[in-house]
Symmetry: C2
Subunit: 159 residues, 2 copies
DNA sequence: CTTTTCAGTTTCTATATGAAACCTAGTAGA
DNA sequence: TCTACTAGGTTTCATATAGAAACTGAAAAG
């Protein structure tokens, strides 16, 4: 495979583009942040985020379609609908936190509210970092991009 | 402060919205991914990502404005311009990796190429996780959102 | 009954994205 | 030198997406 073909493959078949297809539109992250902070209902999202109703409707629909939020009509009050994070949605927490920590460090310059703490020690969580398989924190100089084939061997990579 | 006022503050003054102002537009993440994977020149980004030239121009400009990329004219060939990540840009790596790992786990279903490895052990990096201050991994049940005031005391929070 | 709430949809305008052609300075080759 | 080509854009115009505001319909509250 030529270098150019290789690169094109790299850029089309990538977890990042796959993820962005689903949560990359404007407002999606902020809606998820709202959900992590306890927002459950259409009107709550709308008034707290200040998002246009038609866009909110569209985004909630997409997030539900992709299995990131679950949409449950409230049996007690049949006007109400509850949106809550699925396991797949909850698993986006590290992404949200990494983005938030970066924004705090480099843009807003201060920690935002509320803070996520360890329930038992009451201490804020640690900064999200890149670590080796054994848990050692890795700096950029200690990492390297390698082709999958080089570490797995050609047979596994083909599978 | 009323509950409603509190929430509105939470949603305007947040690291995530701050971060999204800068890197939340369509293509920004993919351009950064390209930069992490060694893309340096306008034409490289354009052909590898398949992005429209005017949009690429606009995004590179914004990323440079915000200090995420540095733009250096090449002294050897004065047609060429080199874009490279600044420290601020490099610090987005955890965000990119968390997003990528999520996409691999929940959307594409397989690891993408190339793989980021520990330079010495040649082992792929660990999944990005949320950890307590002492490094213990935390599950969602072990965390809690608390108001900053509650852990810092009112005086510090006001500062 | 009448009013209000909730979760949307519709309509219309403004903004962002994208494809393609064009431009300008600089380089390479004959 | 003259010509062709390259790198990094900009311009133009069509299309798609976002947003504000008014509207709807079912259900609940008074």
């Amino acid at each position: 495979m030529s270098r150019a073909e290789q690169l094109r493959e790299v850029f089309s078949d990538c977890g990042i583009s796959a993820a962005l297809e689903v949560v990359g539109e404007r407002w999606s992250f902020l809606i998820l942040r709202g959900a992590f902070n306890g927002l459950r209902h259409f009107e709550e999202f709308q008034t707290n985020l200040g998002i246009a109703r038609n866009i909110l409707s569209n985004r909630l629909g997409r997030l539900v379609e992709h299995g990131i939020l679950r949409r449950d009509p409230d049996p007690a009050d049949r006007r109400k609908v509850t949106y809550r994070l699925t396991e797949k949605g909850l698993d986006l927490l590290p992404v949200l936190l990494a983005l938030r920590q970066w924004g705090e460090r480099w843009i807003s310059g201060h920690p935002s509210n509320p803070v996520l703490v360890d329930r038992y020690t009451r201490q804020p969580i640690a900064p999200i970092t890149v670590q080796a398989a054994d848990g050692r924190p890795l700096s950029l100089r200690e990492m390297e991009w390698v082709d999958r084939v080089e570490i797995e061997g050609p047979d596994e990579a083909a599978a």
